[in-house]
Structure formats: C-alpha cells, structure tokens
C-alpha cells in the first residue's frame, strides 16, 4: 500500500507537468531558458538543457534533442538564439518553432562529447516513451527494459498510468520490473513482484537480465531469481526445439520443391538429370523477368507478379525440358551414366548462357507485400515467405499426387515406371510419356525456382547449390514413390536443422552426407524402394 502511495507521489510532479504541457503547448519561460543554455557552448550547460527540455513535455522537445543528436542544432552565442535545421532542410527557431529564413554566420553547431551523447540517447528514449504511436512506445519500453536505467522510472510510471494499449502496458510494466529489480533501494516485495513479471516474459532478454543480477541479494530474492532463471531456461529450450522444427520444416519444403521434379524423371525414366538445378535457376530468372516487366510497365500489379510467374516458369522450364528430352536424352536411353554426363554438360551450357544474358551477378527479385514481414508465435519468429513456401510446396505436392492418381497421363506414367516393356505392349506410347514426364519434371523445377527466388540469391549458380541436396533427397527417399521424396526431404531438413546448433552448419551438413552414404549401404534403393522382380533390385 505504502509503495503504491509512494509511487503515485513520485509520479505526481510529472503528471502535473504533463497536464500543464498539454494545456499550454507553448510554455514561455523555463523552456526558452533551457533552450538558450545551448548557446553557452559549455558541456555542463548543454547537459542541463537536455535534462530540462526532456522533462518539459513540450512538443518541440523531441525535434530539438534529435537535432542535437544528429548535429543539426545550431546556436548563436551572441544573440543566444538556437536554430534547428529540419531533416527537409527548413530552419526553425528552436525555442518557438517558428520558421526562420537563414542561420546567422555567427551560429555554430552545438557540440557533444561521449557522456553527453549517452544523456541525449536516454532523453530521446524517454521522449519516445510518450510517442503517440504504440509501436514506438513498445520499442522504447523494450530499450528501457534492456538498460533498466533508474532515471527512467518516473517517466515509465507516468506512462504506465495513462497507457491504454494492452501491448504497450505490458511492455511498460516489464520495463518497470527491470528497473525495480536493479534499483538499490527497492523493497524485497517490489523485487519479488519484478522477478515474477520478468519470469512471465520468459525470453532471452529476461534471462540475460536475471543472470546479470548481482550475487549479494537477500536469500528470498536470490532463490526466486534462480527459480525464474531455470523456468525461463527450460521454456527457452522448448521453444528452441519448436524453432528448430520450424526451420527444419522450412528447409524440408525447399528441398522437397527442388527434388520433386528430379524424383519424377528419375522414377519414370531412370535418368539422372544433372541439369535439373538449372531448370530451377531458369524458373527464378523467369520471375526476375516478369518482375522487371511489371516494374517498368504495370507497377500496380507487383503484388501479383509471383502468381503470373508460376505458370510462366512452368511453361518455359517445361518447354526447355521437352526440348532437351527430344534432342539429347532420348538418344541415351539405356545408358544412364552417359545421360548423367550429357546433362552435366548441358547444365554448364545453360549456366553460361544465363550468365551471358543476365550477367554473372545476383539479380534482385522482390518480395510482394503479402510475402514480406514476419509474425511472432510465442518465442519464435515466423517469416511469411517461409510460411508461404511451405504451403506452396504442399499444394504442388498435392496437385502432383492427384495428377498421378487421376489423370490418364498419370496412369501412363505409373505404368511406365512399373514396367516399361509391358506398358509399351499395352499400347502406351512410352516415348511420348517420357517427353511429357521430362517436361513435367522440368516445369516443376521451374516453379521451384519461382519460390526459391524469394529466399535465395538469383544468380547463374542458384541451381548448383541445390542439385546435390536434391539428389540426396531422391536417393534417400527412394525412387518411384513421391511419398518417399516427401519423407526424405522433411527428414533431411529437420535432421539438418537439429544438427546445426550442436555441430555447426558445415559439420552438420557433412554429418548428414556421411549418414546418407551409410544409409544407402543399408537400403541401396532408399527408404521406399519400388518392389520388383528384377535381378538387380
């Protein structure tokens, strides 16, 4: 009870000041005096001026102090006038806010030293606590939470009382708890309450704050702090698991997208297409071209650029795929190792062609507005582009599965996968199926390129970085079964992300490669092998 009264009492002058400030926006006298102190060109006077202006509640306070921070505050020692050069180049009188034509030659920039710079920063932090924008208030409260500067306590208390926004209120009370926890003369009850608030926050910064607490606390508080620390730690460990799982799903979806086309061509034709990565790259460049056209001609349609790029990338990559199949690969059936070499050569040609056309550097592909940004889910941040890619991958997978199951082309593809000669005997034009399959696989790679352009650099080497991983997925998942590819991609993605924090990114990847090599020994045809009667199967 007593503490509450005390707190109210402490906040009283500030509240009065606020009321006065809102009632009389231009308060002549103390404010002008304080501003005039800048002209004395003494660090101590400047510090006083900053303190006085920051607590004045005058609407001109923020522009003046931020001008001071940026070196845009000029003072004339002769007339004691102070001027602010606004960011748009206009000049105003600092004390009154009235526009001025020019700054007299005798005026000089108000100087700062390092100690003053900190004061200025703190003052600005306090001023943004009162900003009308709740997001800015929350941000300011967060920075107070980190610095837990005792001087901010009255400002926080004042802000807390008149705060109506729920998020900002929470942020203020957390900031207040942080200050009280480190305040030398706060009571034990206050400190315990503060620890509870911080524990409820439960993130990395709360943990840092609690572990930063000095050792000479009363036993009750030390115990509470230790409990809170371990509670936060286990909470954080749980969230980091969730985080890893999410990253794993995200990586898995990217791998699945890149590998799924490969799985189809490999499954149906037994052909390893080394140029598959280049189809992905072509899809990404199609996105780039679509966005360029939209930027120059129809800027309003930018948000739809990806929707347009997806069918286009499918068509372009698919057409190139069919062309490749008709001109190169069909002459190499029954010689998979030669096909591997020829398609590798093709990948070199395609890379170099794109390099010649678009240059060797990264091209910029933008995120449409609905794909940029992120949202918080508990302690983890989920970016919209990753989430969309996951959804998109699942959609592509579902469509492909449905296509294989319900269309006549799908039926023919499955027939050829299971037994080529028998399918041919039943009247299926296997060479047509081959061409279409290759086109389909390449087209899906093109679609993957559209998605990958959103999270990766669009350069001629884009495909190269995915090709080995895609092979691993296909080989691990097994051939001729899309579910195998799905399981393979997500297993590898999640395993990779769980190994990364333990072993480091590179070592984790090496471990995955070694594990796959060992796994292949155990199951030479992958997780979900197609059963057959062939001698070699």
């Amino acid at each position: 009870m007593l503490t509450n009264v005390l707190r109210n009492f402490r906040a009283l002058p500030f509240a009065i000041l606020l009321i006065v400030a809102t009632a009389l926006p231009v308060l002549a006298g103390p404010f002008e005096d304080a501003v005039g102190k800048f002209a004395n060109d003494e660090f101590s006077d400047t510090e006083e001026a900053v303190g006085a202006i920051a607590t004045s509640g005058n609407p001109l306070a923020y522009p003046i102090i931020s001008a001071l921070q940026d070196g845009r505050l000029m003072a004339d020692p002769e007339t004691k006038k102070v001027y602010v050069t606004q960011t748009d180049g206009k000049i105003v009188d600092a004390a009154t806010g009235t526009p001025v034509a020019s700054i007299p030659d005798s005026a000089a920039e108000v100087r700062l030293n390092n100690r003053l710079r900190r004061t200025v920063e703190a003052a600005l932090g306090g001023l943004t606590l009162l900003s009308p924008d709740p997001a800015k208030r929350i941000q300011a409260a967060q920075s107070v939470f980190k610095t837990h500067d005792e001087a901010m306590l009255p400002v926080i208390d004042g802000a807390l009382q008149k705060e109506t926004n729920k998020g900002a209120k929470l942020a203020f009370s957390e900031a207040r708890a942080a200050i009280l926890l480190f305040k030398a003369d706060a009571t034990d009850a206050e400190k315990l309450e503060a620890i509870a608030t911080i524990k409820a926050r439960g993130d990395q910064e709360a943990l840092a704050l609690l572990t930063g607490l000095s050792g000479d606390q009363p036993p009750a508080i030390a115990r509470a702090a230790a409990n809170a620390t371990s509670a936060i730690q286990s909470n954080l460990a749980l969230w980091s698991m969730v985080q890893n799982a999410w990253y794993g799903l995200s990586l898995g979806s990217v791998l699945l997208l890149a590998a799924i086309g490969l799985a189809i061509t490999f499954g149906v034709m037994g052909v390893i297409n080394m140029a598959h990565g280049e189809m992905v790259m072509i899809g990404a460049y199609v996105t780039f071209v679509v966005q360029e056209v939209i930027r120059t001609s129809y800027p309003g349609l930018f948000d739809y650029s990806l929707l347009m790029a997806v069918p286009l990338a499918f068509i372009v990559a698919g057409a190139i795929g069919i062309l490749i199949e008709r001109t190169i690969i069909r002459f190499l059936y029954g010689r998979p190792l030669e096909t591997l070499l020829a398609t590798w050569g093709l990948s070199l040609v395609l890379q170099q062609a794109v390099r010649t056309m678009f240059g060797p550097t990264n091209r910029e592909v933008g995120n449409p507005s609905w794909m940029s940004g992120a949202f918080e889910l508990g302690q983890i941040t989920i970016t919209y582009n990753r989430l969309w890619i996951l959804c998109f991958t699942m959609a592509v997978f579902a469509i492909l599965l449905a296509m294989l199951r319900y269309t006549s082309l799908g039926l023919e593809m499955r027939a050829v996968t299971q037994n080529r000669r028998m399918a041919a005997s039943m009247g299926i034009a296997t060479s047509r199926v081959d061409a279409l399959t290759f086109g389909l696989g390449s087209g899906i790679a093109g679609i993957a390129g559209v998605a990958l352009s959103q999270i990766d650099n669009v350069s001629p080497n884009l495909g190269q970085s995915y090709i080995i991983d895609s092979f691993m997925v296909v080989v691990f998942g097994g051939v001729g079964n899309l579910w195998g590819t799905l399981v393979g991609a997500f297993t590898l993605g999640i395993a990779n992300k769980f190994l990364e924090p333990v072993a480091g990114a590179v070592l984790g990847k090496i471990a995955i490669l070694v594990l796959i090599i060992l796994f292949i020994q155990k199951r030479p045809r992958g997780l979900f092998a197609l059963k057959g009667r062939a001698v070699e199967a």
Partner: protein
C-alpha cells in the same frame, strides 16, 4: 614377370609408352641444356604446364581402369587426387620450417595465424618424405577401401554409386574448407620452398618433377595394362558387362570391384602428389564435384576402356582448356566444355581412340565393337531399370 609384360604390351601400348618416355626425357633436356630463347628450348612454365597435364593423364588412367573396365562410374575421384595432393602438401609445408612468414620452426604459417598451440597429431611424421609418400598411397587407398567395402558389399551400383561418390567428395570439400579442420581451410597449403632439399621453383627441380610424372604415367599404364590383360581383367570386364551373371557364375564380384577401386584410388593419389609441387598449391577447390566430373569427360573424350585414350583425352581437353581460357574466347569455354560433354556422349560414344581403332584396324574393329556393344548393354543391365 616377363610374360606379364609381353602380354601387357601390344603394339599400340608399346608405341604409347615410347612416346611418353621420349617426351619425359626430351622436354626436361631441352629445358635444361638448350640456351634461353632457342627455338627448341621449352620454357620452364611450359614444363610445369605439361607436368600438370601428365598428372591429369594419370588421374584419367585411374578412372578409365574402373569405369572403362569395371563399369564403376566414380564422380568423386577428384577426392582421391586431392587427398594425395594434401599428403604431399603437408610434407612440403613441414619442409618450409622456419622460413615461413612467422618463422615458427614447427608450425606452418596458417597454424600460427589461427593460434594453434601445437601441431595436430595427424601432422606428425609428415616431415619425413618416406612417411608422406606412404600416406599418398595409404590415405586415398584406405578411404577407397572403406567406401568400396561398404558400397560394393551392399550392391550399390550404377547412378546410385555415382551419386554417393559425389556426396563423398562434396562432404570432403566442406570439411577441408573449415579452418579448424587443420588443413589451412579456404587457402589450402601453399608457399612451398623445397622438396627433398631441392628448391621447388628451380628449373632443374621442375624438369625432374616432369620426368618423374612421365615415369609415374608409364608405371601406372603398365600396371593398368597388366591388370586388364590378366585373368582378373577378364573378370572385371565380365562384371562390367553383366554383373549378376558373373556373380551367378561364382565370382566374388565385390572383391574384384574393391580391389580395382582401391588400386585406382592409389593411382589418383599419386597423380595428386605429383601435381601439387608442380602447381605450387593445393586447396579445397580440388574436391569440388565439378572437377571429378570433368575428369570423367577426359576419359570419355579419349575413349573409355582404352587406357591410351584416357591419357590422351586428359591432355587434349586440358590443352584446349588452357588455350581457350587464356585467350579472348575465355567466356565461351564453358559452352565448349558443356558441348563437349553432350557431343561426345551423343556422337562419339567410343571416344577418339575407340573411333580411330574402329576405322583403321578392321580386324581389331570386330573385336572392339563387340566390346563396345556389350559396354553399351552393360549399363542397361546393371541399372535399376524402372521398366522391368
């Protein structure tokens, strides 16, 4: 022994060996004895360049031995080459001694730079040449043995094998790029001073290294010929053409494959070891999967399953690479290389030597075409044919 030699040396093999021996003797002699600027004097930089080609030829030979005669397409042979190179590089690093930038008598420069307290255990012994030379054979051989033992026993064949060999070299690439792996990270090993007490930069050393590389090529070629013309070689060809049938006939296919794979890896290691002092650097880039695939195309260009063709292919393709990448045509080199891959597999499946043989030696053509036909069939049989 003599009968092995007579069996191994048919006419074309003898011609090839004589040419290599002549090159190996004449080029160093012309470099050392003729005055500078003379028409026939081979400048030192060319000696090193040719030396590089000869090392590539040995690597190509080792790939041809397994791909051309046993049907194992390794896309990771560059890894064995690079491991041999690293073993030699480690010896050369230790020979620098206190002449490095930091003047540490024991630790190579990069270790001083990265604050290594002492020499890692696996660097011990590399100050002795015999040990390094042993490791040049042992490290790639052991890796190939373990890898092959696992892969061949579980009957991983065809494209699956190709892909996991690629994964192997990729994993090694990533590992060697790491600074704390203890092999100089990104920069690799370089700034070599001398080898066996001779300055690596000196003309005499370069000429000697070139002659040694030619000698290694001759020995490697003889070894390969001895293997492929023996009864063992016949079994290898049988495995290439019909693996299951050979197994059903009672041969232990995996043992044959393992033997030839390990032998081939040792050869690749020797090639790498000779390569490093001549180019003066070894870095993780040598592990790049692209390098291994490029080496396979040398064999395909020259003619797979001909040995002579493999060596020729390596020299021809690399000479073309030097010409194109150093001239105004540099941006088009990748087009050329890519087209080479495509055109050779489509139009020249027997390679230069194979096609030459087929044209000019009709009596041989019959025998060869039988081989080639079966070679073409082999892949179809040993692959996971989805259709069947």
């Amino acid at each position: 022994m003599p009968h092995v030699l007579t069996r191994a040396l048919d006419r074309s093999a003898t011609v090839f060996l004589l040419v290599v021996a002549a090159v190996g003797i004449l080029i160093p002699l012309s470099n050392l004895l003729l005055p500078d600027g003379s028409l026939f004097q081979v400048p030192t930089y060319l000696v090193s360049l040719f030396g590089k080609y000869v090392c590539y030829a040995i690597l190509a030979l080792s790939i041809d031995l397994i791909w051309g005669y046993c049907g194992i397409l390794s896309l990771g042979h560059g890894a064995f080459f690079a491991l041999g190179g690293y073993a030699m590089g480690m010896y050369l690093m230790r020979q620098i001694g206190s002449r490095g930038v930091y003047g540490n008598p024991v630790l190579p420069d990069f270790m001083v730079f990265l604050n290594y307290p002492k020499l890692p255990w696996y660097w011990h012994g590399f100050d002795m040449f015999w040990f390094a030379a042993l490791m040049v054979l042992l490290v790639p051989g052991l890796l190939a043995f373990c890898f092959g033992w696992l892969a061949f026993r579980s009957r991983v064949t065809g494209v699956y094998l190709s892909i996991i060999t690629q994964a192997m070299t990729y994993a090694l690439l990533l590992a060697f790029f790491r600074n704390d792996f203890g092999f100089g990270g990104n920069n690799g090993l370089t700034d070599f001073k001398d080898i066996l007490g001779f300055n690596v930069q000196a003309d005499g050393t370069r000429a000697a290294l070139f002659a040694l590389s030619c000698l290694a090529l001759i020995v490697g070629f003889l070894l390969c010929r001895a293997v492929v013309t023996s009864k063992l070689g016949k079994v290898l060809i049988a495995i290439r053409d019909a693996e299951s049938r050979t197994r059903f006939l009672g041969y232990r296919v995996e043992s044959y494959k393992l033997f030839v794979f390990t032998l081939s890896a040792c050869m690749a290691g020797v090639a790498g070891a000779l390569y490093v002092p001549q180019v003066g650097i070894i870095n993780p880039g040598e592990f790049a999967p692209g390098n291994s695939i490029e080496a396979v195309i040398w064999v395909a260009v020259g003619g797979r399953g001909t040995l002579i063709g493999a060596a020729l292919g390596a020299v021809i393709v690399n000479y073309a690479k030097t010409v194109f990448t150093s001239g105004p045509l540099a941006p088009y080199w990748l087009f050329m290389l890519g087209a080479l891959f495509i055109l050779v597999t489509l139009l020249l499946p027997k390679g230069i030597v194979g096609t030459f043989n087929a044209w000019w030696e009709p009596w041989k053509a019959q025998r060869l075409s039988a081989n080639v036909e079966s070679a073409a069939r082999e892949d179809g049989v040993s692959e996971p044919k989805m259709a069947e």
